[in-house]
């Protein structure tokens, strides 16, 4: 069973992620008063990418993106998905936090190898933005880990299922709010989309990808979206007992992200970091202080 | 009056020392300073002598009858002063020699102007 889930969970994540991508394009189109592409449009595109001829800039160019995608897959194995977690007990949340590094790092390495300054600019923006949202995010994660006194994600989820989800329990509500505030940044959605600005820096890190490489990047994007949303659901919304509920919860979170995405213009990276280090950090900080002072 | 009699040498010595010091401290001309040193030396020598001197004392010659030990002048300071005078003269000579040399090299004896070595 466990082996089965090891194989299945990345596939499920991929399916869900691609669905989310298609859905978000559709929803955005509707918000724009357009008809929008079919839901399976991302799938078509990935298929198209894989059948095209790619141009490679070196060994690392391929290796980086492989590393990045592998990192995301491993993270997925560590994430509980509605009661299913294929790799609990191998290091817990800390491993997840670290494995989440691999995705941007791999892209950054391979984008750097491409020797395109647009890619470099994008990467530098991505890293700075990550530094921006990582501060409140860590505050939130630490508040939750301290509150439930464990570093295991599964334990956090089960603890929330026993009492109430973090959103609904008093000292953690601030952390939850802060998480909501930084969620678009973590998902790379609109106000924080400066990393991939297509017009200004030609999609940033992925400027030089073509063919199968681009296909992998798109898959990577799908998985990242999945990871970001499911982490939110697991950490502050109590996970779920079965995959279906979990999926529904994820949909809600995605919808929230999409509305933000549609409603806001893009921020410059300084503005973004300044925002992230101001309100979300402040709220998360107060939340952490509350957790520490109030205890369980 | 007896105070003056007892201490006149000390007063003299002290006066000489003060004069010497005053010259050293206030004059800028090297020759004058050397003179001040010499006066200082003289004052000290006088002081040394007066330490051992007894008013109306006699020479410390025990073989001469009639001279008692209490009236004898202490001979040691005199021996000391002799040495000290010799030393003083040596220093004086050296100082003057150096002063000549200094004048040759610096063209002046004004100590205020000879201040290349400082700080």
């Amino acid at each position: 069973m466990r082996i089965l889930w090891l194989v299945l969970s990345p596939l499920i994540a991929l399916a869900v992620g691609l669905f989310f991508l298609g859905l978000s394009r559709r929803v955005m189109a509707r918000i724009h008063w357009r008809y929008g592409p079919p839901l399976y449009q991302p799938l078509i595109e990935i298929f198209r990418y894989f059948t095209q001829k790619g141009s490679s800039h070196g060994v690392l160019f391929g290796l980086g993106i492989v590393l990045s995608l592998a990192g995301s897959i491993v993270v997925i194995l560590f994430l509980p998905f509605g009661g299913i977690c294929s790799m609990s007990g191998s290091g817990g949340m800390l491993v997840v936090l670290y494995m989440m590094l691999l995705a941007p790092l791999g892209i950054a390495l391979s984008g750097g190898e491409a020797a395109n300054p647009n890619a470099s600019i994008g990467i530098s923006r991505k890293l700075m933005l990550a530094l921006g949202y990582e501060l409140p995010f860590l505050l939130i994660v630490l508040a939750i880990m301290t509150h439930y006194d464990t570093i295991s994600l599964v334990d956090i989820v089960s603890a929330q299922r026993e009492t109430a989800s973090a959103f609904a329990s008093f000292p953690l509500v601030l952390s939850g709010i802060a998480y909501l505030l930084i969620l678009p940044a973590m998902l790379g959605m609109r106000p924080f989309e400066v990393v991939h600005a297509p017009q200004e820096i030609s999609s940033g890190p992925i400027a030089e990808y073509s063919g199968p490489y681009l296909g992998l990047v798109t898959i990577q994007h799908a998985l990242t979206t999945f990871i970001g949303i499911s982490l939110f659901v697991n950490l502050v919304w109590g996970g779920a007992g079965n995959p279906f509920v979990f999926f529904l919860k994820m949909l809600v979170v995605l919808a929230f992200g999409l509305f933000v995405n549609a409603a806001f213009p893009r921020l410059r990276v300084e503005q973004a970091v300044r925002y992230l280090w101001r309100w979300p950090t402040l709220i998360a900080f107060v939340g952490l202080i509350l957790v520490v002072t109030l205890g369980r | 009056m007896s105070f003056l009699q007892d201490y006149v040498y000390y007063i003299g010595a002290f006066g000489l020392v003060l004069i010497g010091l005053f010259i050293i401290l206030s004059r800028r001309n090297l020759i004058k300073v050397i003179i001040g040193l010499s006066i200082l030396d003289t004052g000290i020598n006088l002081f040394l002598i007066s330490v051992g001197y007894i008013s109306k004392g006699t020479a410390p010659i025990f073989s001469k009858p009639g001279l008692v030990a209490e009236d004898m002048v202490d001979p040691v300071p005199q021996a000391l002063v002799l040495t000290s005078i010799v030393i003083g003269v040596a220093v004086l000579a050296l100082a003057l020699a150096l002063a000549m040399r200094l004048h040759k090299l610096h063209g002046t004896l004004d100590l205020r102007k000879i201040g290349e070595l400082k700080w």
Binding site: - | V17, G20, I24, L30, V33, L37, L40, D41, I44, F47, L48, V51, G52, D74, V76, P77, L80, T83, S84, I87, A90, V91, L94, A95, L98, A99, R101, L102, L105, H106, I114, E116, L117, W119
Partner: protein
């Protein structure tokens, strides 16, 4: 058993032989100081075991103790005479090559006289005798400072002379006062009576003597002559002045304060004065750009440290102070000797002119580095055990005030380290302005430097070689009654 008198007499005689021999052959006359110092060295070493077991008191003229002039060859005396002979020997070796111009026979005569004066000061047991030897030391050093006859030399000699003469005058006054008080000039005899004397004249006498000697010992406000004289004298003389002359002055001060006056209440003041001297010396040295002036100021600092150590007046700290004295003599002599040839080759005393010397004169530069390391107190050089002992002695007492002073001393050491290492960087690591031809110091000078290097390292690694002498020297200073008893019988 050789008589300690020979330590004074033979060099004195040889000193006056130098001009005579010089009439025959100037080349030959150069070797007289070497022979004299070697003789003194041998005699001192021979005397050492006997002295350590029991101090030798020599009454000159055959009278009993208080009336005659006596030599007291205790551990302190023998330690100093050893040091003087050693440093004198090494420097005279160095001078064989270094002093090659000018009236060399006169140099050697005066040099020997200086050493005789120094030896006399440390061995005598008579206050006035001390004054006389002191004057010999001072006068010959006045002349030697001006040996080059250049502008700086003469100027500093004149200044030195004026201050030195003033100091001597004060000293003589003090001695006169002492004689007036006690009617004796024998140190031990004075010491016996010092306790019962009228305190105010006694204090005045002491103040006069301490200030008078302090001029030569370079205690803080009295040391203005030192940087000038040390920096403008020939380097061999700077080495002796720094390595011997001020130490002898210091000896005299310490002997007066400890043995003659037994002024233990003065000690804490001396301690402050020592720290003040240290800080002033180090700070001034820090701001120097002239290498010899820097070394001279550093001597002031070291003297301050020694005063501090001795003024703590525990046996450990005095041992440390003496150890520091030994290591300072060796290291500072080495520094001046090494710097001497580096200056000679570069033609300037500016620190920046020493750039690239590490390549042009590697051995000399190495010797300089060893001297500097030792002086800063880094293991495994001689300066390390001495600093260790001093601080151990100071901290063993445990007082907060002492701890504070130790802090200041360490601060001074840091400053010292900073300026010495700056020079080392300049010598070794700054790229010189092109000139790269090797121009090593002459062999005989190198030999003299490396004797010191070897001594510094050996003492640094095996401090126990000399610690015995130092310990008994410390106890000689501390146990006043012993001294009195030995002399007066």
């Amino acid at each position: 058993m050789v008589s300690p008198v020979l330590l004074i007499v033979i060099p004195l005689g040889l000193a006056f032989c130098v001009p005579l021999i010089g009439m025959v052959s100037k080349r030959f006359a150069r070797f007289v100081p070497v022979v004299a110092c070697l003789f003194n060295l041998v005699v001192s070493v021979q005397l050492l075991p006997a002295v350590l077991s029991k101090p030798i008191v020599v009454d000159l003229g055959g009278f009993g103790a208080p009336f005659s002039i006596n030599l007291f060859v205790g551990p302190v005396g023998i330690l100093f005479s050893l040091l003087i002979a050693l440093a004198g020997f090494v420097v005279s070796l160095y001078a064989l090559a270094y002093i090659d111009k000018g009236p060399t026979t006169r140099y050697h005569t005066l040099y020997l006289l200086l050493l005789v004066g120094a030896t006399g000061v440390v061995l005598t047991g008579d206050v006035f005798n001390l004054f006389v030897f002191f004057e010999i030391l001072c006068i010959s050093s006045y002349v030697l400072v001006a040996y080059r006859g250049d502008k700086d030399g003469v100027e500093s000699a004149v200044k030195y002379l004026i201050q030195g003469a003033l100091g001597s005058a004060l000293l003589l006054t003090g001695i006169g006062l002492l004689y007036g008080l006690f009617g004796t000039l024998n140190m031990a005899h004075i010491a016996v009576q010092a306790g019962s004397a009228d305190p105010i004249p006694l204090f005045v006498a002491m103040a006069l003597i301490v200030v008078g000697l302090g001029v030569e010992a370079a205690i803080f406000p009295l040391n203005a002559w030192l940087p000038d004289a040390h920096s403008s004298a020939p380097s061999s003389i700077s080495a002796i002045l720094s390595g011997i002359a001020i130490e002898v002055g210091l000896y005299a001060v310490v002997r007066m304060v400890f043995t003659v006056f037994g002024a233990s209440s003065m000690l804490s003041f001396l301690m402050f004065l020592g720290v003040l001297t240290l800080l002033v010396g180090e700070l001034c040295a820090f701001a120097q750009s002239n290498i010899k002036r820097m070394l001279a100021y550093s001597s002031i600092g070291q003297i301050g440290l020694i005063i501090f150590a001795i003024a703590i007046a525990t046996s450990g700290s005095i041992t440390g102070g003496f150890f520091q004295l030994v290591s300072h003599t060796l290291s500072k002599a080495l520094l001046f000797l090494a710097a001497g040839y580096m200056i000679y080759r570069s033609g300037s005393m500016d620190i920046s002119s020493l750039e690239g010397m590490g390549k042009r004169m590697p051995l000399t530069a190495f010797a300089f580095a060893v001297g500097a390391f030792s002086l800063v107190g880094l293991p495994p050089f001689a300066g390390f055990p001495s600093k260790l002992l001093i601080i151990r002695g100071a901290l063993a007492d445990g007082g907060a005030l002492l701890a504070l002073l130790v802090g200041l001393v360490l601060l001074g050491t840091v400053i010292e380290g900073a300026y010495f290492f700056r020079v080392i960087q300049t010598v070794f690591f700054k790229k010189g302005d092109g000139e790269t031809a090797r121009c090593e110091a002459p062999a005989i000078a190198l030999v003299s430097m490396f004797v010191l290097v070897a001594l510094i390292i050996v003492i640094g690694v095996y401090p126990s070689l000399i610690i015995g002498v130092l310990n008994s020297a410390a106890s000689e200073l501390l146990v006043r009654a012993d001294y009195i008893g030995r002399v007066l019988g």
